[in-house]
């Protein structure tokens, strides 16, 4: 039968694809986002054209690789966000989950943040921000839907939720990136400071005397 044959081949192809992705994973974990196609092919024990047959081009491979990690991280984040606890505890748990993830595997984190930068071929017409940082975008959208679903924000809630989703994710990202580089405090302290910020301590803080009255 034709179909069985095709499924057989499909299976083989899928297995190969997974093997290749795992090899690519190892290389990215070792070399960072600038892992070369040659290196990945060598790690997988084959040569470049096979990679290109499977993934089209580098962006394709990177997209597939990024999807795996992004999906995994998003699952953890959803779990943290859905845990049974009050809102502040959930927010803190989610922040902590994210920070723990980037702390555990910084190379992967860095790869996810800057996947397809700097190709020398037809990257033209790239519509600023279009294929940049899919992880951040996905997290932002995800958070936006959660906020919009669960919070009562009055009129214009959908738009507000999206702004907040992307804004909060960006806050988490930037603070995490900085923290990962300088390690100025413990993860728990960072989480608490960020939650404090989200909880309005900025607006509630009093002016210092002597200043121009910020």
């Amino acid at each position: 039968m034709d179909t069985t044959q095709r499924t057989e081949q499909q299976r083989s192809a899928d297995r190969r694809r997974r093997e290749l992705l795992e090899a690519a994973d190892r290389v990215v974990l070792r070399d960072g986002p600038q892992a070369s196609m040659n290196a990945i092919a060598a790690e997988a024990g084959i040569t470049k054209p096979i990679l290109y047959r499977h993934f089209g081009d580098k962006s394709g491979l990177y997209a597939a690789l990024a999807k795996r990690h992004t999906d995994a991280l998003l699952d953890s984040l959803r779990a943290a966000l859905d845990a049974p606890a009050d809102r502040r505890e959930r927010v803190e748990a989610t922040l902590d989950t994210y920070l723990a993830a980037i702390e555990a595997r910084p190379q992967v984190y860095r790869f996810l943040m800057h996947p397809t930068e700097g190709g020398q071929t037809a990257d033209q017409g790239f519509d600023v921000g279009k294929h940049s940082m899919p992880l951040l975008r996905r997290m932002g959208e995800e958070l936006a839907t959660v906020i919009e679903e669960r919070l009562d924000l009055g009129p214009g809630s959908q738009q507000l939720a999206r702004v907040w989703g992307h804004g909060i994710v960006g806050m988490m990202h930037a603070a995490g990136d900085w923290w990962l580089g300088e390690r100025p405090c413990s993860r728990a302290e960072l989480v608490r400071s960020l939650a404090d910020l989200l909880w309005g301590r900025l607006a509630a803080a009093g002016d210092k005397m002597g200043g121009p009255g910020f």
Copy 2:
């Protein structure tokens, strides 16, 4: 005299340097962050090795270029932050200034955010986040000092201020990037939504009924 001679040469070199930077600026404005050294040299009417004599390598040129824009933008932001008005108005003015800047010249913005990505040569040992996004880091530190100077945050204020500085900048950045790509609302609305977030509306919002109680 030796000194006059040296200053003469210094002047000449500086003038050339400025010319080269302006040429590079034009190319980056046209081609985005992936402008090639060849293209920049051609735009300046000279050839590659001169660029390398002046700036060392691509990172050097990009750093010099980034410093100009970053300094200019930081000046605008400082001005907005120092305007005579109450705190919320100042925050909104600062957000708006940033968003107006990235809206006006997205190519430059994109260049500033991802300056040295994707080189294929010895970028190894790059210490995650080390030479990434100098603009965000500088803005974060700047805002941190302002916060720490002017706000009364109680014990641990310095660390808290730094976390907040980087966090707020990241929020602004991510929201701006997303907004620039999708244009889901006007700049003013975005500014208002972000300020609302900073002003604690997240913590103050009530739960929607029927949900699991976010």
